[in-house]
């Protein structure tokens, strides 16, 4: 087709073609900045579809998307399912507790069996780090990592970056504070990789026993006091706190944790006036974040959810078909 437009004023980036270099989305650590930009730009275009009366486009019609969740999740799985359905794909949800895993089938056998049914994309959440990578190496389908242990959760980081970019115009140069159990948080890890790649000044904060040992090599500033971490922050990202991990109590009590590390109407004043407050959900009201902050004017928590569907639609689109 011979039509090409010349230049005209438009706020949007003009691209002629777009492609991701890998067949899978396993993590942010190896994702180049220009591919992150591509995913975020594409996601913005997909947002509009969810505002239509008929929230569907025929793009992935006839494609099969399988969600394979070995860890419980309603939010992430539903988000992927809505994303696939809005692209007209067929979705199948498999939960570990109801599947053959209970009967002792290994991950690899489960995956090979699925492969033989010819799905197009498999989305996997597993408690073991690297599970998605194993599937990606074995199967020809595109694999999306929906969370592997404490390792990565790339789609969460992407939707967080989209939200920040939308609210602040850019990610570069922003001061972003991530507060919580950094060591056990795949959301923190993926966000750290992504936000530092995009040029933000990232600060992490949490109790010492919740800080990963290699945090010094991750290109972030480390604080053990909220007040220091969130001072002048443009973005504050609170992580869900789980006191019990692998049977060990990491902190004496929720109240003590909340006293030191929760975001409330007093300490939020240390951040910039137009600070945005983020949380991957589900929120522990009164623990890491007070209800008035969670529901207040700085909170963009619900926008994160909306952006989650858009980002997942963008990824499903970009990873589908057309690969030579």
């Amino acid at each position: 087709m011979g039509a090409q437009a010349g230049l005209f004023t438009s706020g949007w980036r003009l691209r002629n073609t777009m492609d991701l270099s890998k067949k899978d989305m396993l993590g942010i650590i190896d994702l180049p900045k220009d591919e992150i930009d591509l995913i975020l730009d594409t996601a913005e275009s997909f947002k509009e579809i969810s505002t239509r009366t008929i929230k569907k486009v025929p793009t992935l019609r006839g494609k099969t998307v399988i969600t394979l969740f070995f860890e419980a999740s309603t939010r992430t799985r539903t988000s992927f399912e809505i994303a696939a359905k809005r692209l007209s794909a067929d979705t199948i949800n498999i939960s570990a507790s109801t599947s053959s895993v209970v009967k002792g089938e290994t991950l690899i056998d489960t995956a090979r069996n699925l492969e033989s049914m010819n799905p197009d994309i498999i989305i996997i959440r597993h408690s073991a780090a690297g599970a998605a990578h194993i599937l990606a190496g074995l199967l020809k389908q595109s694999i999306i990592n929906a969370g592997d242990g404490a390792h990565e959760h790339p789609t969460q980081a992407l939707l967080d970056m989209l939200t920040i970019r939308e609210k602040k115009g850019t990610i570069e140069g922003l001061r972003i504070a991530i507060v919580g159990d950094i060591a056990h948080s795949r959301v923190a890890r993926s966000n750290i990789y992504g936000l530092t790649k995009m040029g933000a000044d990232v600060a992490v904060c949490g109790p010492a026993m919740m800080m990963p040992r290699d945090i010094d090599q991750m290109g972030v500033s480390v604080y053990y006091k909220m007040e220091d971490a969130i001072k002048d922050a443009d973005v504050v990202m609170m992580l869900r706190i789980q006191l019990e991990r692998q049977g060990k109590n990491l902190f004496p009590s929720l109240r003590e944790y909340a006293n030191l590390f929760s975001l409330n109407r007093d300490n939020i004043r240390l951040a910039k006036d137009d600070v945005i407050v983020m949380h991957p959900g589900p929120i522990n009201r009164g623990v890491e974040i007070t209800p008035e902050i969670a529901d207040g004017p700085h909170s963009v928590i619900l926008e994160q959810v909306t952006n989650g569907v858009a980002v997942r639609m963008a990824l499903l689109y970009l990873l589908s078909g057309g690969r030579k």
Partner: protein, 171 residues
Amino acid sequence: MDAEGIERSLTRIAYEILERNKGTDNLIIIGIRKGGISLAERLREKISAIEGTEIMSGTLDITLYRDDVLTTGKRPAIEKTYIPFPLDHKRVIIVDDVLFTGRTIRAAMDALMDFGRPELIQLAVLIDRGHRELPIRADFIGETLPSSLWENISVNLTDNRDTDEVVIEES
């Protein structure tokens, strides 16, 4: 075709649209993707100026409705679709720069049907270069340019309208 020729064609098309539709009631001008957007804007300006009323307009990106969206090696970029009103009972004029195989227009009509049930859809193009692969035709045409399949026709519109041009190249 040069800048003056483009300008005259657009003026004629604007009058034709008004004549065929007997005015601007329920008229919406929607530009397709990249090529049709600035043409749609110019048509909208002209029609508004002639009739003295504002005309509703929108933009449509048809990438997700293409019949080759997942099979072409490199996919075209998705731009924004902006149709902030339902299309029920509206007279939709879709605008594109070059009409060729007709597949873009087929995709555009499928997309528009998801926004409501228009009263009618009419097509305005600057250039009709023939070689239709689907039974699609334009209602308003700037110029019919017979072409060979080895040629590439581009409509280059710029903010400085003096340098608008239609270019035919060997591809």
